[in-house]
């Protein structure tokens, strides 16, 4: 009885601690522009990010919200390129959605409203990066959310937290942080710039072959 009470008390205290953070989260995120930087020369293809993402987001077998491409250069050098949804500023996946299920948030995330998604696949075809798939369990379009639920709780995306070499850097683009410093001070690249999608995943040391 005492144990139950203590557990209950701890539950209430935890909830009280988390609730203000959750309710305050949207305001705190207002005006931010979340982005990610991937330092390609730091990635050695361990797949920790892929597994962390799958575990965190219950990604079905055979589908990936993030994945790692593998390039073997003519001299035999191996390069690993992590990829995922680019949370584009001008996302080509949003206009084709017939019900408005795919949408942009004020802080730059591109998300899917499962309640509105009819599973037509128009957004999957509209994404130039192959970052979307149809979730076979839910029958709706699925993709990286930048771990929106974790951001609300003040945490980093699971893939960023899991990366053993710190190849993934995440944060608001226009604030003073590691991400914005690197983006401002070093040459960075994006995937398929010709699409005009203005992707918000920045890369350093990205091989030219990737954007063929």
């Amino acid at each position: 009885m005492v144990e139950t009470t203590r557990r209950g008390f701890l539950g209430i205290v935890s909830a009280l601690a988390v609730l203000p953070a959750l309710s305050a989260a949207p305001d705190m995120r207002e005006g931010k522009r979340y982005a990610m930087l991937i330092e390609v020369d730091k990635c050695y293809g361990c797949m920790a990010c892929v597994i962390a993402c799958a575990a965190e987001n219950n990604v079905p077998l055979g589908s990936f919200r993030t994945w790692i491409e593998h390039l073997v250069k003519p001299d035999g050098t191996r390069v690993f390129i992590p990829k995922q949804c680019n949370h584009c500023d001008d996302p080509p996946c949003v206009p084709p959605c017939p019900t408005g299920a795919t949408y942009k948030t004020a802080d730059g995330l591109v998300l899917v409203n499962d309640e509105l998604c009819i599973g037509c696949g128009a957004c999957v075809k509209g994404c130039p990066y192959g970052a979307r798939y149809i979730n076979p369990v839910k029958g709706v379009a699925d993709k990286c959310t930048f771990c929106d639920h974790r951001l609300r709780a003040g945490l980093l995306p699971a893939c960023v937290e899991a990366c053993p070499t710190g190849a993934r850097v995440f944060g608001p683009l226009h604030e003073d942080n590691e991400l914005s410093k690197i983006v401002r001070s070093r040459p960075v690249q994006v995937l398929k710039p010709h699409t005009g999608a203005e992707p918000q995943i920045y890369y350093t040391s990205l091989p030219d072959e990737v954007n063929r």
Binding site: L71, K83, P96, P98, G100, L116, G121, V124, G130, V140
Partner: protein, 368 residues
């Protein structure tokens, strides 16, 4: 040696299934209605209008059955009408062509039904004079009280206005989903297929006229009327030749565009040759059929084989080219895909048969 692995693209299955292929054939219903509206407005092909209208409505009414069958959450399909993405907002920039076309379908279908009711009113009255039983009652009901040529004169003005209103919506359907493929997808083959909308438009006319001629041949076997057959055959011949020429021209554009593009579209080329061959054959058979009408079924069947091949190449094979354009995957089709694909077409035929019972397809002049 340069190697590059794209695990996510390789994992992407065939997303839009061949049931969409049935859907794009059903779009020919829109083209039949365009032909009926144009014939009505111009006063030509008068005897063909009833059959074209009812065949057109039959196919156009069920045109969304194909995509409905391809939805992963079909129970939420009504959201396209109740929650359409038709205007850009900060959270939902752009306009969805799918939502736009769904709305256009609803408007076009309602207008087509009004057009049919108005144009058939006097035909129904005339048919009721020589009918008996239930059919007489049906014809009387659908005459809408239009029992004289004078009354029909007034109705005709409204019908012409409706025909004009129908045309833009139906024309949009004639080029859909080619516009969707080009404008709102990042499939490299579709994006580089500059002539796809115009090819699609011509192609749906080929299916529409082939279908019309086949049904007309079966229905009026032994009593084909030259003033119906010959103009439709001419339209069909022009359509077949256009699609063959446009297909050849697109191949030439790809070859001259860049070596990478030519390499990417290689898997599409063999079937494009087949399409050109079949549609040229259909063109020549159409010319023969103008003189020897017994060859009409051959014209229709060859043309349909050509357009089936074309649609398969455009929808299924082009989708199998990866987003990088570097790989071509094998189609993995579930069992029963053929039946699933044929079902919406069968539904269109069923609606047409029902309409042919409810409305008289023969045009009779007053007193005859």
């Amino acid at each position: 040696m340069l190697e590059y692995y794209f695990p996510n693209e390789a994992a992407e299955p065939l997303l839009w299934h061949p049931v969409l292929f049935a859907y794009t054939l059903l779009v020919s219903g829109a083209d039949l209605l365009i032909l009926a509206a144009l014939a009505y407005l111009s006063g030509s092909l008068r005897k063909a209008i009833p059959l074209m209208t009812m065949l057109g409505i039959g196919f156009f009414a069920v045109v969304l059955a194909g995509p409905l069958a391809d939805l992963r959450s079909p129970h939420k399909a009504p959201l396209i009408f109740t929650h359409p993405h038709l205007a850009p907002t900060p959270t939902n920039p752009g306009i969805s062509l799918t939502a736009f076309q769904a709305t256009a379908w609803l408007i076009a279908l309602i207008l087509s039904i009004i057009f049919a009711l108005l144009t058939f009113s006097y035909y129904s009255h005339q048919a009721s004079l020589t009918s008996v039983g239930l059919r007489k009652s049906l014809y009387q009901a659908f005459s809408l009280g239009v029992t004289s040529a004078e009354k029909y004169g007034a109705v005709e003005k409204v019908a012409k206005a409706v025909a004009v209103l129908m045309l833009p919506f139906l024309t949009l359907w004639g080029v859909y989903p080619a516009t969707l493929f080009i404008m709102q997808t990042w499939n490299p083959a579709w994006r580089s297929w500059a002539l796809l909308p115009v090819t699609y438009f011509a192609d749906t006319f080929v299916v529409a006229t082939a279908l019309f001629m086949l049904v007309y041949f079966i229905w009026r076997y032994g009593g084909l009327e030259r003033d119906v057959v010959v103009p439709v055959l001419k339209i069909h011949a022009a359509g077949s030749l256009s699609v063959a020429a446009l297909t050849g021209l697109q191949m030439a554009i790809w070859w001259t565009w860049s070596p990478a593009t030519a390499e990417m579209v290689k898997p599409l080329i063999p079937l494009m040759y087949v399409v050109i061959g079949l549609l040229l054959l259909s063109f020549f058979l159409s010319l023969v059929a103008i003189r020897y009408q017994a060859t009409i079924p051959a014209v229709s069947l060859v043309a349909m084989a050509g357009t089936f091949t074309n649609k398969w190449n455009i929808i299924v094979n082009a989708q199998l080219i990866s987003k990088t354009g570097l790989a071509f995957f094998e189609a993995e089709l579930g069992g029963g895909w053929l039946l699933e694909t044929a079902a919406p077409l069968a539904l269109g035929v069923a609606v047409f048969v029902l309409l042919s019972i409810l409305f008289p397809l023969e045009v009779r002049e007053s007193g005859k």
